[in-house]
């Protein structure tokens, strides 16, 4: 009932705004309260219930915190350790985001080159796949040997793990351009460069963004793996370093906090990519509604 009322209200507002059109007007509820109730409240309720159940289970079973901390223990750890966890999270963030940027740029450029010249694809693609099959944990120590233990190494590990999804998805997108459109460009005498940037890249945008979305998660994993291996020796460690230390000393609540912060680092990047994606792709079907003059 409330929804149909909203629609009616929307229709009325649209008419008032003199947006007369024969096409359906996208209905977007302006009431944030409605959205909050629909999308924020249910997972929030689920979370509260889960936390209560978790706390109750730990209390009833009287498990020691080093085995399984209760939510209260995790909260305490978060408060008491926040001052030194936050810099660690920021370090990881820096490494992961730099690695992501490096992977996004190099993956995109590699895909462009492979899409433009078939011989480049035949020559490079097998090695790209090989790069993906190498276990990152096994290579990380090598990177430490070459580049020393430090942030640069972690950035490279993050980039290495994130480059494949970007390159593979972008290439896939660039190669699946509508044949007829390619023919249209060719018949109009458009040079390959114009075809690539005016037709293929925009066509591939959904796949490119999918690649970036996957890479956003991978790059955080890469940064933390790098820190496991490289960060231990250095003075300034990221979350991976914190996790290694706390795991050795069975500080389980702190481990939970580290995991929580790592996923926040990951979520921020994922959210940014999703935001860019929705902004770029929305234009294709939502905007530029025809209006009467």
């Amino acid at each position: 009932m409330t929804i149909s009322k909203d629609v009616a209200v929307m229709a009325a507002t649209a008419a008032e705004a003199e947006v007369t059109t024969e096409l359906p007007i996208p209905v977007r509820s302006r009431s944030t309260r409605h959205l909050w109730r629909k999308f924020v409240l249910p997972p929030l309720v689920a979370l509260v219930i889960a936390l209560i159940a978790w706390q109750a289970a730990i209390t009833l079973l009287s498990l020691p915190p080093y085995l399984m901390p209760a939510p209260i223990d995790v909260y305490d750890a978060l408060i008491s350790r926040f001052a030194d966890m936050l810099p660690a999270a920021l370090i990881t963030m820096q490494e992961a985001y730099l690695g992501f940027a490096l992977a996004a740029i190099s993956g995109f450029v590699a895909a462009l080159i492979m899409a433009r010249w078939n011989v480049a694809e035949r020559g490079l693609y097998p090695y790209l796949v090989l790069l993906q099959t190498i276990p990152i944990v096994a290579v990380a120590p090598l990177f430490v040997v070459w580049f020393g233990p430090g942030q640069a190494t972690n950035v490279l590990v993050a980039a290495m793990i994130a480059v494949f999804p970007v390159a593979a998805n972008t290439l896939q997108g660039l190669k699946s351009t509508d044949r007829n459109l390619v023919q249209l460009y060719r018949m109009a005498g458009a040079p390959p460069r114009v075809q690539l940037f005016s037709l293929r890249v925009p066509s591939a945008l959904p796949q490119i963004l999918t690649g970036l979305r996957i890479a956003s998660g991978s790059s955080v994993i890469g940064a933390i793996v790098g820190e496991f291996v490289a960060g231990v020796g250095g003075g300034k460690g990221g979350l991976g370093y914190v996790i290694t230390l706390d795991a050795n000393q069975l500080r389980t609540p702190e481990l939970f906090v580290a995991v929580l912060l790592a996923s926040v680092v990951s979520l921020i990047l994922f959210g940014a990519v999703a935001l860019v994606e929705s902004q770029l792709l929305k234009r294709w079907h939502e905007s530029a509604l025809p209006t009467e003059e």
């Binding site: 024969e22 096409l23 509508d178 007829n180 459109l181 023919q183 249209l184 460009y185 060719r186 018949m187 109009a188 005498g189 458009a190 114009v194 005016s198 037709l199 925009p202 066509s203 945008l205 234009r283 294709w284 079907h285 905007s287 530029a288 509604l289 025809p290 209006t291 009467e292």
Partner: protein, 260 residues
Amino acid sequence: MTTTSTAANRPVGKDICSPLIEFHGVSKTFSNGFRALTPFNLSIDRGEIVSLVGPSGCGKTTVIRLAAGLTAATDGEIIRRTQELAYVFQDPTLLAWRNVRNNVALVAKLKGVGKAERNAAALAAIETVGLSRFERALPRQLSGGMKMRVSLARAITSAPELMIMDEPFAALDEFTRDNMQNELLRLWRVNHFGAMFITHSIREAVYLGHRIVVMASHPGRVARVIESPNPPTLDDAPRDLKALDATVNTISQLLAGEPA
């Protein structure tokens, strides 16, 4: 042996009288040995619509790909006396991220036509196909028939002398399809282009064509060329539908033995 020659852009002197495009003994064999087209002869005059109809694998698409210069003939000679050709695909083939006006102006833009000139031509073409109100709409906001109109508008923007159409209305529902056939004839009366029109529908071929090339498959060849008893005219005279029906029946019987 193969020659594809293109003469001047615009008809001058005797070129006005000579056919727009001529096929002389043109054949096409694919590298795997498949004979897509056995020696094929056809000439199309300026302002003439020639329908090509026949079952799958009869070489219709090969003929228009040859005409457009998208593939080379194995043997024979193609003389095309125009550079101004437009190709209309079965799908609207639009850029999803460009609005109607920019889609219509696309080919002109790729050919290097200046912005003011191509926009003016695009707006005129959009008006011709009756989409003026949707100039800024994106393809996703349009119906199938409207998208096809955009595709036609893009084709006429470059003032083509030869329209090459590959089953352009095949994916449309019957009602829209009838509309689009009349739309095409209307555009033809305004712009008077020559056209090669490929279709699976005998009725459509007969309704639109001045001549109907009936093709047969395995190997691809011309079964017969039929003059329309009542072709479309520039003054939009009422059509003798009975005579057209008789031609449809003749062609149906001709193709009866052919696998679909």
